[in-house]
Symmetry: C2
Subunit: 352 residues, 2 copies
DNA sequence: CTGAAAGCGCTTACAG
DNA sequence: CTGAAAGCGCTTACAG
């Protein structure tokens, strides 16, 4: 396993493996004519230093442009005051607010945030998570790409506070913060049913992804409660790239058995379905999982099952710092409610 | 200045200031019955270890669940293989792709990314940047919130490779990667002029923000080239919150001297203006700076001057690693072109 | 092929 | 109030 240190470190120029000749506390001590510990006291604002001594030390600090090396401090103190966040893709609009929320909580606890994207690749998730552990982050927030997290067991045992978000951990018992994908999807589909639809399609992400499977389950539950037998051609699961989703949508909308409504499993699916429906004159109803910017500006506005990404991040980060601050806690599963937002597309009546 | 270490570190439980009793190379060495240096060789894949010795060390590593403490390694090597990114707000859709691009370049160079949001607060920008320097990041990518970066001069001199993005550094000479805000805005306004508009409004961000000032300058240049004298009531600069922008737009659209077209200074302004124009029946033309998702799905589609956020991030990060890898480079200003994307809203003819 | 000693820049524990 | 010594967990430089 590569920790990522080598590439940069090994191409470094010979001379500056001393942080570019930065002054150290020793240099400050020499210049101020005091002991090392006295400098440490001043730098850290500890009591027990004469005003005069403090002034002399401060002058030396200013003259040398000294800045404490937290990297060394960390080694001695045993806590790095940093946490890691492994997510799928920082460029995805769902993860931006989530990441920002984690950052805010970290900041409130005096910690910095190191984050990385797994690109939905379990191998990369593991590589990243373990690299962060090698850096000795105090805690880890993980949005799983893979479904087996036993590789983190030794780390968690060794004290790395770990919380999973958006999807549960695989094969280990750990904290997890989720949206209620099942309930949200069931409510969204029930909404379509309430508006008279019977032939309702479901287009979702790959079923190996937990949220996708849960949303499918919600769809099935709502349909079953309404006494409707789902036809295979109404369901399409797979990658969420525009090409596949478009084909899936067009197939559902064609022929005599065409669906009159579609439930879209996540924001990326929704966006593509909106494009397809626009070409079909919007006579098909649509409810999507995940809210997105401008959903209200489209015509019709897009009815969605909204989840609160920031709240997911905040909850996870707070759980993490509870662990870090306090007594050991039993792993817990926290589920956040979703919210149906009606804007028009979900209230289109069945065609024909 | 607070480095953020204290809060977490000081609330730590007494016992585990040794990283939760993790095994060290010393423990591995003892168990394998070899010297410390031999363990180091095996862990780092260095040559000169018998197959048999290596096997024994590896067994000890596995048995103890040893993972090298990169935090200690870093202290000795002098390079942390991490870079910092200070941006405005990770939740802003403009910065997600930028951040992701920086991360990818960092990853290719074996470095991790620590990022933080300044929330457009110069004080917070400085606090964050200096905290990152205290952690001894190898380099810093900064999207400036403030306009005075002299506080970074000692850090840069000490060897922290620093590149500014999106807005130039203030009062220091440093690398900067920008979009061509002036040219982009001029082109966008020229596009409206070419479609017959004379009374064109400009709604932008606060003029103290460099990009806002440059875009205003581009607007003025295009109008001047067309021989049009700009009236004061056509320009509105200030915060980009929906409330202010809405009022500004409504004022410009009211009365006998109403504008027939609006140039919006950034994505947040554009979105609000779209809402206002929707209420006005879309008889006013609009060109916005920054592209955004679904701009093509609105009716009419929104014509924009697009900048490539990912390319900004990639360029900046590559510049940073060039500095880190090689000889000293003179500070450089890199300007990336923008691209006009016509979708309908910018081609609406003048009303009346 | 292998390892003991010194040191990275701090903090801790202790003594004056 | 002040500081010398030891140590955090590694790597470097060197010797066998």
């Amino acid at each position: 396993m590569t920790t990522g240190l080598d590439t940069v470190a090994e191409t470094t120029r010979k001379a500056d493996n001393r942080y570019g000749n930065r002054p150290t506390m020793k240099d400050v001590a020499a210049r101020a004519g005091v002991g090392l510990k006295t400098v440490s006291r001043v730098v850290n604002g500890e009591p027990g230093v004469t005003a005069d001594t403090e002034r002399r030390v401060q002058e030396a600090i200013d003259a040398l442009n000294f800045r404490r090396n937290d990297s060394a401090r960390v080694l001695r103190k045993g806590r790095t005051a940093s946490i890691g966040l492994v997510l799928e893709d920082l460029a995805d609009p769902f993860y931006g607010p989530l990441s920002r929320a984690v950052e805010e909580v970290a900041r409130a606890h005096g910690a910095l945030l190191i984050n990385g994207s797994s690109a939905e690749d379990p191998g990369r998730e593991q590589e990243l998570a373990l690299a962060l552990c090698a850096r000795r982050v105090d805690g880890l927030v993980v949005i799983p790409a893979g479904d087996d997290h036993r590789y983190l067991e030794p780390e968690i045992k060794a004290g790395v506070a770990t919380v999973f978000v958006d999807r549960p951990a695989g094969r280990i018992n750990a904290d997890v913060v989720l949206s209620d994908s099942f309930g949200g999807a069931r409510d969204g589909v029930a909404h379509l049913l309430a508006h008279g639809h019977r032939r309702i399609g479901f287009i979702g992400d790959q079923p190996r992804i937990h949220t996708a499977a849960e949303r499918l389950r919600g769809y099935r539950a709502a349909m079953e409660e309404a006494g409707i037998t789902i036809e295979d051609s109404w369901m399409s699961l797979g990658a969420t790239d525009p090409h596949r989703v478009r084909r899936a949508a067009e197939e559902m909308l064609a022929g005599p058995d065409a669906v009159t409504a579609v439930f879209a499993g996540n924001n990326r699916v929704t966006v593509t379905v909106v494009r397809v429906l626009a070409e079909h004159g919007h006579r098909v109803a649509l409810v999507g999982f995940d809210d997105f910017e401008l959903a209200d500006l489209l015509r019709p506005g897009v009815t969605v099952v909204a989840q609160d990404a920031a709240q997911l991040g905040r909850t996870a980060a707070e759980r993490l710092f509870s662990r870090l601050d306090g007594a050991p806690l039993a792993p817990q599963r926290i589920e956040l409610p979703t919210r149906l937002i009606t804007r028009g597309s979900g209230e289109v009546p069945p065609a024909g």
